[in-house]
Every structure is written in structure tokens, then in C-alpha cells.
Amino acid sequence: MPTLLFAMASILAVDDSPSMRALVYATLTNAGHRVLQASDGVEALTVAKTEAVNLVLADVNMPNMDGITMVRELRMMSDYRFTPILMLTTESATDRKKEAKEAGATGWLVKPFDPEQLLATIRKVIT
């Protein structure tokens, strides 16, 4: 299993789509990570306050609080000033990418992605 080469991390997956969350959850758990889940920005902030999270993976379009607002809020929390936050986005949404970056997002992963692409991207930000 090449996926066990890096240390286990606590990863927060934020997406309003259960199938996306399920995919992220299954892939990352199989790779030995601990995966926390949230279905929108508000839930994600609650989780982030109570759990130590090493990496956040978040959708952009979500009800209640979108991903970009969530990034802005997270960056204001002292524990999350430097935490990698990756946005799950579509290629077409160039403006949103820029907006996300300006809000403080670390990078992005273009949808659709498959488990291998997800793991490869995670490897880029986990020490």
C-alpha cells in the first residue's frame, strides 16, 4: 500500500453531498487517516472548534455557509491560521478559485477526482 507512506492525519471533509463525503471518507480512512465530516460550513466550524484538525477538504457550494466564508472564518481562528485548506471545485470556476485563494485557501482539487488523485493531492500538503 503506497498510501501508508505518510503519517496519519486528522482530516475534516466538508461537503453537502453525501456521496462525495462517502468517497472522501472511504478513501482517506483506507489510507489510514482519521476523517471527520461536516455537511456545511457551519457544521465544519463547530467540528474545527472541538477537534484538532490537520487538514480541511471543503466544497465551495454548500447551504448555510459556503466554503469560502468557512475558509475566512477558519483563518480567523488561531489554531487554523496555517492549516492547509483545500477546496473541492470544478475546473470552470476560475473566479471562485481566486476568491477562495483570497479568503485564505491553500489550494484546490478539481472535481471530478478519483481516489488516487485525492490521495496524491493530500500528499502535497501533509508533512
Partner: protein
């Protein structure tokens, strides 16, 4: 990667469920939109649904669905950003696309096929609506450029902005990734480092010069820095070509998602029944269940303690423990049953669209109001309720609500109203379909019924009985067969379907004011609160909800009418009596009512007195179907196994009432053995 395939296969089920929900959200959302006034939250919701389906479809390998949804997403994005106006052609195009998307999803689920020319036509309809559609809509696919053939040596200068780490990017990780592209030599430039007292550990003062042998093109290198391109100075220069030893290993952004071959040319779309399958349960319900199990474990250990060194002094504690166990069991049972409950919204959601389409088609103006959409009922009931409800709603649009000019002539507003309402009543769920149309034409129904031989010429039924005739097989009251209803499937089928679910459907109507269909269903099919009754040497079960009261019979209050039919005078009301001994043909049934009890039951708005020998305890019983092992028997809804292992039949009150009425009418004829439908199952069950 091959070892991820099983995972994706498993998760496809989740994707399909989600796609179904997304489609429902899009459809109901679109129907609620008014052209011109854009409700941004509604449009956002629709957009998100399209967006999720597109993303999921791409991930799970349904390239066709993903690219089809792309156009919808683009149009919706333009509408929500105000770039495009919300017009009714746009809403219509989106609705068409939702319909077609449903076919595509269904085909992907069942492995069926969808007419490709149709897919193209719908896609083009959407594309025409996209603002500035001449700029071609291209599905979001990452372009993979053909790699430059020459292996190369690169010189890279990477100078991050001091604040780059604030976006969570670590230069070390970027350099690590860059090194993975080939053979790298990295030099650090520390000239910008400030004196220690001015040093801010959150800023980056270093920059790097990298000599890299490997990547064939600049793009591969730029991709490493893609996330930070606005947060650093990056210079990439190609040095002289390296000798041909280096084999570039660029694990770059290829796109391993093998796109599905385009779906095959037009063949009939296959639709698979998706009755079975998984169920999505909210976390709350699961949590409640876990709590319950926790309490059960506590009770169990408590009982365990009592059992050790048991003496009679602990009897009361044992009783407490058993009571607690009983409560736990009941709560656990309720929680488990609740998992199977789904909101009726799942079926209601299809109606706004249907009513709109139908009324357009019929030239009517109908407004649909839906109430109690959050009312939950058993999944099995829900799945089987769809078709009967569709039929009744169609019926209301077609036959109930009149044409606008007729309505105005009758002094009513031209726009008719159909109300769908669901609510709980005791342990049943009631669904009403009300229209404010012309009401049932009792004279016409009666004439047809007489013509069909359903009612003898000399019998004059009351209005309720006449209304009930519309559920008889072979009675269609529509003057002309329209495209909408009246295609041979009648209300008799509706009633049969509802009865199969253990429920009933009735109709009430007021001339000129409208018609109301009322469906009553048990909350769940599997469990019932029952009253055990003793008749002769047999035990039966009456659903507790149908019992109004029980009284000791006073022989002087019994009146025999027209021979065998008997009425009991209860306060100011006369109740028909059904003697279960006789009806069931049980031994030892004397004519004498003295000492017996009369249980007053109610069903379908009518009351009946049932004579029994004794009332036993009340308890929840698990319903076992008789139909699967035997056949449907009027008056008996099922059987259960009692605590002592004996089998008891569960009585169907509505059926008993119908039977008692039939008995009254047929008083002069000799009852045949077929008039005693209980006998056969009775023997059968006794033999178990």
C-alpha cells in the same frame, strides 16, 4: 487505480440516491420559481443540486451525465449571478433537462440506454438559453497536452511572498514535490533574513534556486506552484537539453477516470423498479437507538445482579427490573420502527409538476396546496402509495376541478384549488385530496350503477352509499374518456391498493363545493396496539384505535329489526350488532346476550357493536400477513402469535362493518358458506 474500483462501485448506490434527491430538489425548486423575480436562495439550492450531480457523476464514471449537467449548471450559475434573466423559456428548458437527466440517471443505474439524439436535443435547448451561448459550452474536462518529447534541464527561481504560509502553503512541501519530478539540486538564498530581534516566525524570508533535470514541459513544473502562483515570484527557464539519459517520470495530472464509452444509440429506455434498496437514516434517529441500547444493557446488568443470590425479598426489585425491561423494549422497538419512517414529501414532491402539466393540457387553472409534507410514514407504505395517490390527484384535476368559464358561471373564482394534506390521527395517517370543484354527480353515478347492475332498481341507497359506488369496478363516470384519466384503471384499483396496505379510502362530496378523498393508513405495517378479546374459546385482536368504548350489555336495549338484524340502543344512538359467535360459526354460541360485553368500534366514520365474551389484556402485537400464506380474507387483517405461542387473528374493523351492513341487507336470503369468510382461515390457523 484498479484497487479503488470496488470502492467506487459501492459508493455508486449513494450517488444514485443523492441524484434522485437532487432531481427532486431541482424539479420542485424550478416549479416554485416565478419568472422575473429571482428568489436567490431557491436558485442557489437548484444550482447546488445540479452541481453535486455533475461532480458526483464525473467522479463515479458517468461522463455522459456529467457533461449533460454541465450546461444546466452553467445556465443556473448565470441566473444566480444575475448574468442571465430568469425567464419562463429558461425555466421550461431546465425542467425538460431535469426530466431528461432523470432518464440518464435511471439508465446509468439499470444499465439501460437513452436515446442520444434526444439527449443532444435537450442539451441544445439548454445551450440556447445560456447567455452568450455562441461561446461554446465545453464539458469540464482537464486537457492533457501532448508532452514535449525532449527531456530537459530547468532553472527555477522560487521567491515566496513573506506571508505565503498564511494560506496554509509550506515552501518545504512545494520543494519536496518539485524534487519528486526529477533530479533536483536546491540552493537556498537567505540574504533577506532579518536580524533576530526583527524576525517574525510566521513570515518567509528565504528564497530558492532549483536546478531540475527531468520534466519535459514547463506546465508540469508550473502545476507544482499552481496554488501559490499569486503568492510568489516564480521564474522558470529552460536550460540546454540534457543528454538523452533522463527518462522523465512526471506523475502529473493525467486523467485516470476512464470515460464511459458514449451510450449506445437509441433503444428503449429500461426502467427498473427500485422498490428495494437502502434507506438513509438521520443521525438523530441512530443516536436515539444507541442510547436505547445503552439503557437496555443497564437493565440487563441490573437483572443479572438480582438473579445472583436470588431470594424472595428481591421480588419487588425483580418486578421493577422487568418493568424497566418492558419500557426499554418498547422504546427500542419504536426507535427501530422510526428508522423506517420517511416524510411523505418524497411522494408529494412530484405533484406540483404533474398538476401544472395536466391543467395546461386540459385548459384548466389549478393551484395545488400541500400541507403536512413532513408527516412520516413507513417506507413500504410510502413506496406503494405513490400510484394510488397519482391516480386520485389526476382524478381531481380531470374530473373534480371545472373549466375556468364553468367555475365563473357558478360564481367561483376561475382558478381551482386542490389541497393535498397529510396528518397523523391516532396510530393512523390520514391523507386528504380535496378539490373545490363541482362535487360528485350522485344522480349520474346512481344511473350508471343501475345500468351496470350494481344496484337493483328498487333499492334507494343513501348519498354516502352512492358516493361509495365510484370505487366499484366497472364504473367510470366521465362522459368522455380523456387522455388524463379514464384509461381503464379505475378507482376500484385505487381502493384495492390502499386496502392491500391495510388502509382504506373513502370519498365525501358536496354538490357545487367540491370532493374530498380520504385515505387512512396504518402508521406502520408491522406493529399494532391491540385489545385481546375472548369469543367462545378463541382469542381475537381488535386494533385499539378503533375501539370507542366497551359496555356490559343490557338485554332490554336490544331491538330486533326485520328478522335477524339487531340494533342496540346506546344512549340516543342505535348501533348495529355483530355477534362474533355466529359470524365465526363458533361452538357454544347461545342466543342469549346476557353477561356478554359489547365493544363499540368505529371505522370509516361508522360504528358497530361487537359482542364478545371477555376483554383480555391490551398489548402490542406483531402483524403477520395471512395473504402470503393463505389469501386475503375480508374482516381479518392478519394474524399474530401471542406470548403463550397460540395464534390469534387480527380483526379488520372496516371489513366487519361492511360485512354487518351486507348481512343487514341480505337478511332475507340464506347465508351461504361464502358469506362466512372467516371459517376457512380459522381452521387453517388452528392447525398451525
Amino acid at each position: 487505480m484498479a484497487d479503488h474500483q470496488p470502492l467506487l462501485e459501492q459508493l455508486k448506490v449513494v450517488f444514485f440516491e443523492e441524484a434522485d434527491e437532487g432531481l427532486a430538489v431541482m424539479e420542485s425548486g424550478l416549479l416554485e420559481l416565478d419568472p422575473g423575480s429571482a428568489d436567490s436562495e431557491a436558485i442557489n439550492g437548484i444550482f447546488r443540486a445540479a452541481h453535486s450531480i455533475k461532480g458526483g457523476a464525473g467522479t463515479f464514471g458517468f461522463a455522459g451525465i456529467s457533461s449533460f449537467t454541465h450546461g444546466m449548471e452553467t445556465l443556473l450559475d448565470q441566473i444566480r449571478s444575475g448574468q442571465a434573466q430568469l425567464t419562463s423559456p429558461r425555466i421550461k428548458a431546465l425542467l425538460h433537462a431535469v426530466d431528461h437527466l432523470r432518464l440518464l440517471v435511471e439508465a446509468a443505474r439499470s444499465g439501460g440506454k437513452v436515446d442520444e439524439t434526444r439527449t443532444d436535443a435537450v442539451r441544445k435547448e439548454i445551450e440556447r438559453e445560456i447567455e452568450g451561448h455562441d461561446t461554446k459550452v465545453v464539458p469540464a474536462v482537464v486537457a492533457t497536452p501532448g508532452p514535449d518529447a525532449r527531456p530537459n534541464v530547468w532553472s527555477i527561481i522560487f521567491e515566496p511572498n513573506p506571508a505565503m504560509m498564511r494560506s496554509g502553503n509550506d515552501p518545504y512541501l512545494l520543494l519536496r514535490e518539485l524534487s519528486s519530478l526529477g533530479r533536483a539540486t536546491i540552493e537556498v538564498d537567505s540574504t533577506r533574513l532579518p536580524p533576530l530581534e526583527a524576525f517574525d516566525p510566521e513570515l518567509i524570508y528565504l528564497s530558492w534556486r532549483i536546478h531540475l533535470e527531468g520534466p519535459r514541459d514547463e506546465k508540469t513544473i508550473r502545476e507544482v506552484f499552481a496554488w501559490v502562483e499569486d503568492e510568489c515570484r516564480l521564474v522558470i527557464e529552460r536550460q540546454a537539453a540534457a543528454p538523452e539519459v533522463v527518462v522523465a517520470v512526471a506523475p502529473a495530472q493525467t486523467n485516470p477516470t476512464t470515460p464511459r464509452p458514449p451510450q449506445d444509440p437509441p433503444v428503449e429506455q429500461e426502467r427498473r423498479k427500485t422498490d428495494l434498496g437502502s434507506i438513509r437514516v438521520s443521525i438523530d434517529k441512530v443516536d436515539a437507538l444507541v442510547n436505547m441500547v445503552g439503557e437496555l444493557v443497564i437493565t440487563q446488568s441490573m437483572l443479572g445482579q438480582i438473579e445472583r443470590n436470588f431470594d424472595l425479598g428481591k421480588l419487588s426489585r425483580l418486578r421493577d427490573g422487568l418493568n424497566q425491561l418492558e419500557r426499554n423494549t418498547r422504546e427500542l422497538q419504536e426507535s427501530v420502527m422510526r428508522i423506517r419512517m420517511l416524510p411523505i414529501r418524497f411522494i408529494f414532491s412530484r405533484f406540483p409538476r404533474m398538476v401544472r402539466d395536466l391543467s395546461d393540457q386540459l385548459g384548466k387553472d389549478v393551484e395545488l396546496t400541500m400541507l403536512g409534507e413532513g408527516t412520516e410514514l413507513d417506507k413500504t407504505v410510502l413506496e406503494k402509495l405513490g400510484d394510488p395517490l397519482v391516480h386520485l390527484v389526476r382524478n381531481s384535476v380531470d374530473h373534480g376541478v371545472e373549466l375556468p368559464e364553468q367555475r365563473r358561471a357558478a360564481g367561483k373564482p376561475g382558478r381551482g384549488t386542490i389541497t393535498l394534506e397529510a396528518f397523523h390521527q391516532g396510530s393512523s395517517i390520514v391523507i386528504e385530496i380535496r378539490d373545490d370543484g363541482g362535487g360528485l354527480k350522485t344522480d349520474r353515478i346512481l344511473a350508471k350503477a343501475r345500468a351496470a347492475g350494481l344496484i337493483a332498481a328498487d333499492v334507494q341507497p343513501n348519498p354516502e352509499e352512492i358516493n361509495d359506488l365510484i370505487f366499484s369496478p366497472g364504473l367510470s363516470t366521465a362522459d368522455k374518456i380523456s387522455d388524463v384519466s379514464g384509461r381503464g384503471v379505475g378507482l376500484d384499483v385505487v381502493r384495492r391498493n390502499i386496502r392491500e396496505l391495510g388502509g382504506n379510502v373513502s370519498v365525501s362530496s358536496e354538490p357545487g363545493r367540491g370532493t374530498t378523498f380520504t385515505i387512512r393508513l396504518p402508521l406502520t405495517l408491522a406493529i399494532l396496539d391491540g385489545q385481546l378479546i375472548k369469543v367462545g374459546d378463541q382469542t381475537y385482536i381488535l386494533p385499539l384505535v378503533s375501539i370507542v368504548e366497551s359496555i356490559a350489555m343490557r338485554p332490554d336495549q336490544i331491538n330486533a329489526i326485520a328478522g335477524r338484524a339487531e340494533m342496540y340502543r346506546l344512549r340516543d344512538e342505535y348501533l348495529p350488532i355483530l355477534r362474533l359467535h355466529q359470524t365465526f360459526g363458533l361452538a357454544g354460541g347461545s342466543q342469549d346476550h346476557a353477561g356478554r360485553l359489547l365493544v363499540v368500534v368505529e371505522g370509516n366514520g361508522q360504528r358497530l357493536g361487537i359482542t364478545v365474551d371477555d376483554l383480555l389484556e391490551q398489548q402490542q402485537v406483531v402483524i403477520k400477513s395471512l395473504d402470503t400464506n393463505f389469501r386475503r380474507v375480508d374482516g381479518v387483517s392478519g394474524a399474530t402469535i401471542l406470548g403463550d405461542g397460540t395464534v390469534a387473528l387480527i380483526l379488520d374493523v372496516a371489513g366487519l362493518i361492511a360485512f354487518a351492513k351486507g348481512e343487514g341487507k341480505k337478511c332475507s336470503t340464506t347465508p351461504t358458506s361464502s358469506g362466512r369468510p372467516w371459517e376457512a382461515p380459522q381452521r387453517r390457523v388452528d392447525n398451525i
